[in-house]
Amino acid sequence: MRNDLELDAIIEDYLLGKLNAQETEAFEQLRRNDATVDHKVVSHKFFLESMGTFAEQLRLKEQLNHIHSEIDVEGLADTLRPHPSKIVQLWRKNKSVVAVAASFIVLSLVSIYSIQHNSKQEANYEKMSRELSRVKQSQNNLVLDIKASTQHNSPKKANPGNFGGTGFAVSTNGYILTNLHVVNGADSLYVQNSKGESFKVKSVYTDPQNDIAILKISDKHFNGLSTIPYTIKKSISNIGENVYTLGYPKDDIVLGEGSVSSRSGFIGDTTQYQVSILVNPGNSGGPLLDNNGNLVGIISGKQDQTEGAAFAIKSKYILEAMRAIPQDSLGVNRLGTNKKSLLSGLKRTKQIEKLEDYVFMIKVY
């Protein structure tokens, strides 16, 4: 033990260069002869170096701490801390970005302004009722006169009116729902089914706010319909749901297919859906159905200068309109929400086959 300590002392003195020449010579001799001593010297050298670095770093840290204590950290921190106000913080962070954005906005405003003054572009809502040319009308009136005089007892045959639209049955005893703008200002109203038979109808309810009208067939030739195959969908439809409509943009029934593309209609109108169906004048008032034959809405119009953006009144407003009619007069077999749609699970062609009888062309005189 004693020897060990002495050896350590000698090693340290040797490493620190405190031994005189003679002692150094003797010690180096000892190192060469004794591997253990040699190893001790090496490890002590390493240790001293470690200690040296340690001491140096420690001194440096103390020095830095001393300098640090001279700095007014609190004051600095207050000016540099993220500002409590998010806006100031954003501004500090994004000064340059904001500047670029601002100049961009100014530039685009200027260009928009100049474009607007060159060409006026406005989106308008087009009601899809069909207006036929006066010439045709007057000619048909002649036909009507002739026919009216010859065929008095058979159901009236097709004769286009001033306006046209589409409607669909909401009860088996002849209540038909369509858009108000189709029938508005009508002198007399007729509906024509897919077989070409016309019936006189009268308007029994109008809802100007939701653009809904309910007509009642008041023709003695009308024999009533069989059970309504579709039901009203109570819930809101999802975007992307496949939907289709049947309508009379021409004198024969036409299918239009697409999907619900937005839950709001023209300029954010929440009473309507936007659907990607190509509609034409005459489609107004047509039923909008989903794959299972649930009534999703009523086609009511489209945005001009925008392709593929048609609008449909949501089915919920159909229900509201139907509640406004005396429930007794609608009869037992009316359009409802609870029944299962007879169309569900059928192929599209079969569905349309069944539907055809319930979709009417509205003719306005």
Binding site: L5, F54, Q57, L64, R81
Partner: protein
């Protein structure tokens, strides 16, 4: 940034020469010159003043050691170097504490300093090892060793400070302590 601090920013050359010549004044100026920059960075990236102090001092030590080792080439501004190093250290700390480091708000240019930071970490590990070895030593050994090796006191001073009857006894005690310390330090 504080004006009084900014006005006293030393030139990079001044700092390097100063540190090479062990000038306390140069270190002082260097420290005060860029502290605000790092403080701002840390405060705006989920840190507080204490974090800023730790990170900044580590950064300064890295720079200091690099200059001392003589392999510091002034390829960029000192400011950028310090900022990059501190940024690197802080990001590492954040990820160690699994704090969110998603959106780092930067105030300066940054360049790669991974090597320097890693090299420093190795050195720091040795430092921590020595520190804990000393802590394990207990008194009075710890103080004796510190006085002799760190504060460079002579054996005579230590003998008087601790009240040993003669320097030989103090020396024997010192070597005993040293033996224990080495045993702890070289423990795997």
């Amino acid at each position: 940034m504080n004006n009084s601090l900014k006005s006293s920013v030393p030139t990079d050359r001044e700092v390097i020469l100063g540190i090479l010549n062990n000038s306390e004044d140069a270190l002082n100026k260097l420290y005060k010159a860029y502290y605000a920059m790092v403080l701002q960075f840390i405060l705006n990236n989920n840190g507080d003043e204490d974090d800023a102090k730790d990170v900044y001092q580590e950064g300064i030590i890295i720079l200091y050691n690099k200059i001392k080792a003589g392999n510091f080439e002034l390829s960029s501004k000192l400011k950028t170097y310090i900022y990059s190093v501190c940024r690197r250290i802080w990001l590492k700390k954040l990820s160690l504490n699994s704090k969110k480091a998603g959106n780092i708000t930067d105030y300066e240019d940054v360049f790669a300093v991974e090597e320097d930071v890693e090299h420093h970490e190795e050195k720091d590990a040795a430092f921590v090892k020595m520190q804990s070895a000393l802590d394990h030593l207990g008194e009075p050994c710890k103080t004796i060793i510190q006085d002799f090796y760190i504060h460079n006191l002579s054996m005579q001073d230590i003998c008087e400070k601790f009240g040993y009857t003669n320097t030989d006894n103090a020396k024997t005690q010192k070597y005993k302590c040293l033996q224990r310390l080495k045993k702890i330090f070289f423990q795997p």
